[in-house]
């Protein structure tokens, strides 16, 4: 790892001020992607500004038909939260399947979505549940937040402070993890909102990160069953193809994971 300078932010404002002063700074949350990346010398920020101790950015609460999760809340805290388990069990199950137990104790929702790894689990939940991302500057929809592989709408120095998920009628997530890395080869989050709107979001498979499958959404709107999505396949054209699996293989996985998620919801 190259040399770096660590700063523990006391507040969101303090973190933003520290970032202003840094030559080539990076925000550090759980660090479960950033620290391994720095170990490999694939990233070399001059300064690390730790957001994990900011009290305002932690915790889970029920607010007006939505579940609000502070950005510095760990995956384990989301997975084991009675509020999340009761209101959005699909989201609790997703958080409980990220990485492994040690990673879930450190990794945070804000860190995960800000990194927007194309194989990360959370982006699919944010899109399918129609979540709102709040930063230290504004609020924006999940659709506007995720802009491509490892890319988000965040401006320089902007900090995700919380994510708010409208409570759905039902939802579930199913993923096929890579047997070695445990990252999703394809993960599908299905949700039916209180207003009846259905959304299907896919992670792990797309070249440009998370995407929706509108054909599955309309099929499920009229018939919520595994059979409704069994005959629908996504085009392999924009899917990832690597040593772990071809685009065609991932396209097949998307249909299978969608069927399982619908059955589980």
């Amino acid at each position: 790892m190259y040399e770096t300078h660590y700063h523990r932010a006391a507040s969101v404002a303090d973190a933003a001020a520290q970032m202003e002063k840094a030559e080539d700074g990076k925000y550090l949350s759980g660090g479960q992607t950033l620290i391994p990346t720095m170990k490999q010398r694939l990233a070399a920020p001059s300064d690390l500004i730790d957001l994990r101790h900011i009290a305002d950015m932690k915790g889970i609460s029920e607010e007006g038909g939505a579940v609000k999760i502070g950005a510095a809340t760990s995956h384990n805290a989301v997975a084991t939260s009675p509020v999340v388990q009761r209101l959005i069990p699909g989201l609790a199950a997703l958080a409980g399947g990220i990485g492994d137990p040690a990673v879930r104790h450190m990794g945070t929702i804000g860190g995960s979505i800000s990194n927007n790894d194309p194989a990360a689990d959370y982006p699919s939940a944010l899109i399918a549940l129609g979540a709102t991302v709040t930063t230290n500057q504004r609020s924006l929809s999940a659709e506007d937040f995720f802009t491509g592989m490892f890319d988000t709408a965040l401006d320089e120095g902007e900090i995700v402070t919380s994510v708010s998920f409208p409570v759905p009628e039902k939802s579930a997530y199913s993923k096929y993890p890579n047997p070695a890395s445990r990252y999703a080869m394809a993960g599908v989050f299905v949700a039916k909102g209180k207003d009846g709107a259905v959304k299907v979001a896919v992670t792990g498979a797309g070249q440009n990160g998370v995407f929706r499958v509108e054909e599955m959404e309309s099929a499920l709107s009229s018939n919520w069953s595994s059979d409704a999505v069994a005959g629908i396949s996504v085009s392999a054209d924009d899917l990832l193809s690597d040593i772990h699996g071809s685009a065609e293989y991932r396209a097949n996985l998307v249909t299978v994971m969608a069927k399982r998620a619908v059955a589980a919801a």
Binding site: E3, Y6, Q32, K39, D100, A102, V103, H105, S181, R182
Partner: protein, 162 residues
């Protein structure tokens, strides 16, 4: 350089280290506790698992300075008064190791999973919970047996104490 202080196995310790120092190197090299192992360079193997403020984390994927002020427990901190921790005793009893390199991480992960699941641990849960720990001798069978035995024994001890 930053002075990093923490409570390590119940003892207050402090050392001046570079900000880029990983927690595992702080433990092994600044504090000379070599029970915590480095088994890979990719954050996958779990040989370095320690408890930070009571929760299992990979000490190779955390900077020492991130743990400044924390309460850290390593495998050396489990036994008390010359008595092995029930999980350590179960690993010995059930031969939950072959070469032993992954054992410190396996034990720290096991203690953490028993804390969270208690007596409800079944074989399937144990195997799922071990996802972040790799045994390169592939000796998982006895590791799983040892964890199950320790969970049962600790639950019985808890019941007896009540």
């Amino acid at each position: 350089m930053t002075t990093v202080s923490m409570t390590l196995n119940g003892k207050k310790v402090s050392a001046n280290v570079e900000d880029r120092t990983l927690l595992v190197h702080y433990i092994r090299e600044a504090q000379n506790l070599t029970g915590t192992h480095v088994g890979c360079d990719t954050s996958q193997c779990g040989a370095c698992v320690v408890h930070v403020n009571g929760e299992a984390v990979k000490s190779c994927s955390m900077l020492a300075v991130q743990a400044n002020g924390a309460d850290v427990t390593t495998v050396e901190g489990l036994a008390s008064g010359g008595e092995l921790h029930p999980v350590q005793a179960a690993f010995r009893e059930h031969h939950g190791l072959q070469c032993g390199f992954c054992t410190p991480g396996m034990i720290m992960t096991a203690v953490d999973m028993i804390r969270r699941h208690g007596a409800n641990l079944d074989e399937k849960t144990i195997r799922h919970e071990l996802e972040g720990n790799i045994c390169r001798c592939t000796g998982y069978h006895n590791i799983v047996k040892a964890i199950k035995a320790a969970a049962d024994q600790m639950a019985a001890m808890k019941t007896a104490a009540e």
